[in-house]
């Protein structure tokens, strides 16, 4: 088991994932589906801002926790030698990308109209930071880094639809908007979700390299656990797309409540997927 600093780092990383995927996803959804989400656009902005603040806090705390991991005590969080050491490695690079990304998201969200583009740029910069550190850059391939960015943008888009779609589905007066948003997202998801899965599996293959590594190492097993959970998500997503959303389009308010409940379960499963990923990228070593 990782020590207390390792566990705290995993939790900070989980905060990073939720903050950046959530805020970037909400920005993407606000831009792509502005017509449908207009009734809740203020709420979406508030949520995106809160998530960006979470990401910013997790960025700073995560960096300091790495200092603590180097000394085994809380003194490492403010030890200039340790923090300076981290600053010179890829940890420092990722820290800078994330700070810039979070600030751009926050600034973008406070500017009307073209601010969304600034926020989107910030989200992309922040997500790119994950390709600068950990197992992916060890492969020394720009292709695999771009693959990770694509994977993360798809994850953000998927995560970003949860809250707006759930909120609209729970407002009977906006049933038509909820049905329209669900339908349009379902169309996009038919492209996004396979891209996400193919990019994820391709990266897994490039990182692990063989079936033995996938089946008999902690890293491989954690990856398989993720795949299992994504399979569960796909079942829920299929129910949303094929059953609940068509019923909502026919004016069925009960289906909208089912959709909201289904999204809540999806969000919990995504949380477990992100927790697995935070562990995978923090304490598990790649099979040699």
């Amino acid at each position: 088991m990782p020590d207390i600093w390792g566990i705290a780092s995993i939790l900070a990383k989980l905060g990073l994932y939720i903050g950046f995927a959530g805020s970037t996803g909400l920005v993407i959804v606000s831009y792509l589906y502005s017509g449908f989400v207009a009734p809740i656009s203020l709420g979406i902005k508030r949520q995106a801002r809160a998530l960006a603040w979470l990401a910013l806090a997790a960025t700073v705390v995560g960096f300091l926790l790495r200092g603590a991991a180097l000394t085994g005590g809380v003194d490492g969080m403010v030890d200039p030698e340790m923090l300076g050491l981290l600053w010179q490695t890829s940890v420092g690079d990722a820290f800078v990308y994330r700070l810039i990304g979070a600030v751009l998201i926050l600034v973008g969200l406070s500017i009307p109209h073209f601010g969304l583009w600034i926020a989107l740029l910030g989200g992309t910069v922040a997500l790119w930071s994950f390709a600068q550190i950990g197992h992916v850059p060890e492969q020394e391939s720009i292709g695999i880094q771009l693959l990770l960015l694509l994977h993360l943008l798809c994850v953000a888009f998927w995560v970003g639809i949860f809250s707006p779609l759930r909120s609209l589905a729970l407002m009977p007066e906006h049933l038509t908007d909820a049905a329209g948003l669900g339908h349009r997202f379902g169309q996009a998801a038919a492209l996004i979700v396979p891209t996400l899965i193919v990019a994820g599996l391709w990266m897994a293959w490039l990182l692990v390299g063989n079936l033995q590594g996938l089946l008999f190492t902690g890293y491989g097993q954690a990856l398989l656990f993720k795949v299992l959970l994504v399979g569960l998500l796909l079942i829920l997503a299929a129910a949303n797309k094929l059953r609940f959303v068509p019923s909502m389009q026919s004016g069925d308010a009960k289906a909208a409540r089912h959709l909201a409940r289904s999204i809540e379960v999806e969000a919990i499963v995504v949380l477990v997927v992100l927790a697995t990923t935070a562990t995978l990228t923090s304490v598990l070593t790649l099979p040699s």
Partner: protein, 113 residues
């Protein structure tokens, strides 16, 4: 629901499978029994690492940090002076930073009879 989340998060945290601590060899070897307290300990790693902290715990003394001296660069082989606490079991815990930015840690022990 809370129970489900707790269980799911616990399942997501695999135990026992660590980590980026690829130490190749220590002197004395982990678990060794020797007759005299060595003047220094050695750590060999498979990849470059920057040692950041080494602590020595002895059954009759409080844990103390060992002096890294001028060994504050990235490297694979380190030799650290060891103060003598007489016979007993010595536990050495080390921490460091890999060149890829990963924090690394581990420990080994030996007994002086």
């Amino acid at each position: 629901m809370k129970k489900f989340i707790t269980l799911a998060l616990m399942a997501a945290l695999p135990s026992g499978v660590l980590a980026h601590s690829k130490i190749e060899e220590t002197t004395p070897a982990d678990g060794a029994t020797i007759t005299t307290v060595p003047a220094e300990i050695g750590l060999n790693f498979s990849k470059d690492i920057r040692l950041t902290r080494i602590q020595m715990a002895h059954e009759e003394h409080l844990a103390v940090s060992l002096d890294l001296g001028d060994q504050t660069n990235f490297g694979q082989e380190f030799t650290i002076p060891l103060p003598s606490n007489g016979t007993g079991t010595y536990v050495i815990e080390w921490r460091g930073l890999g060149e890829d930015g990963h924090a690394m840690q581990g420990e080994f022990s030996f007994t002086v009879e």
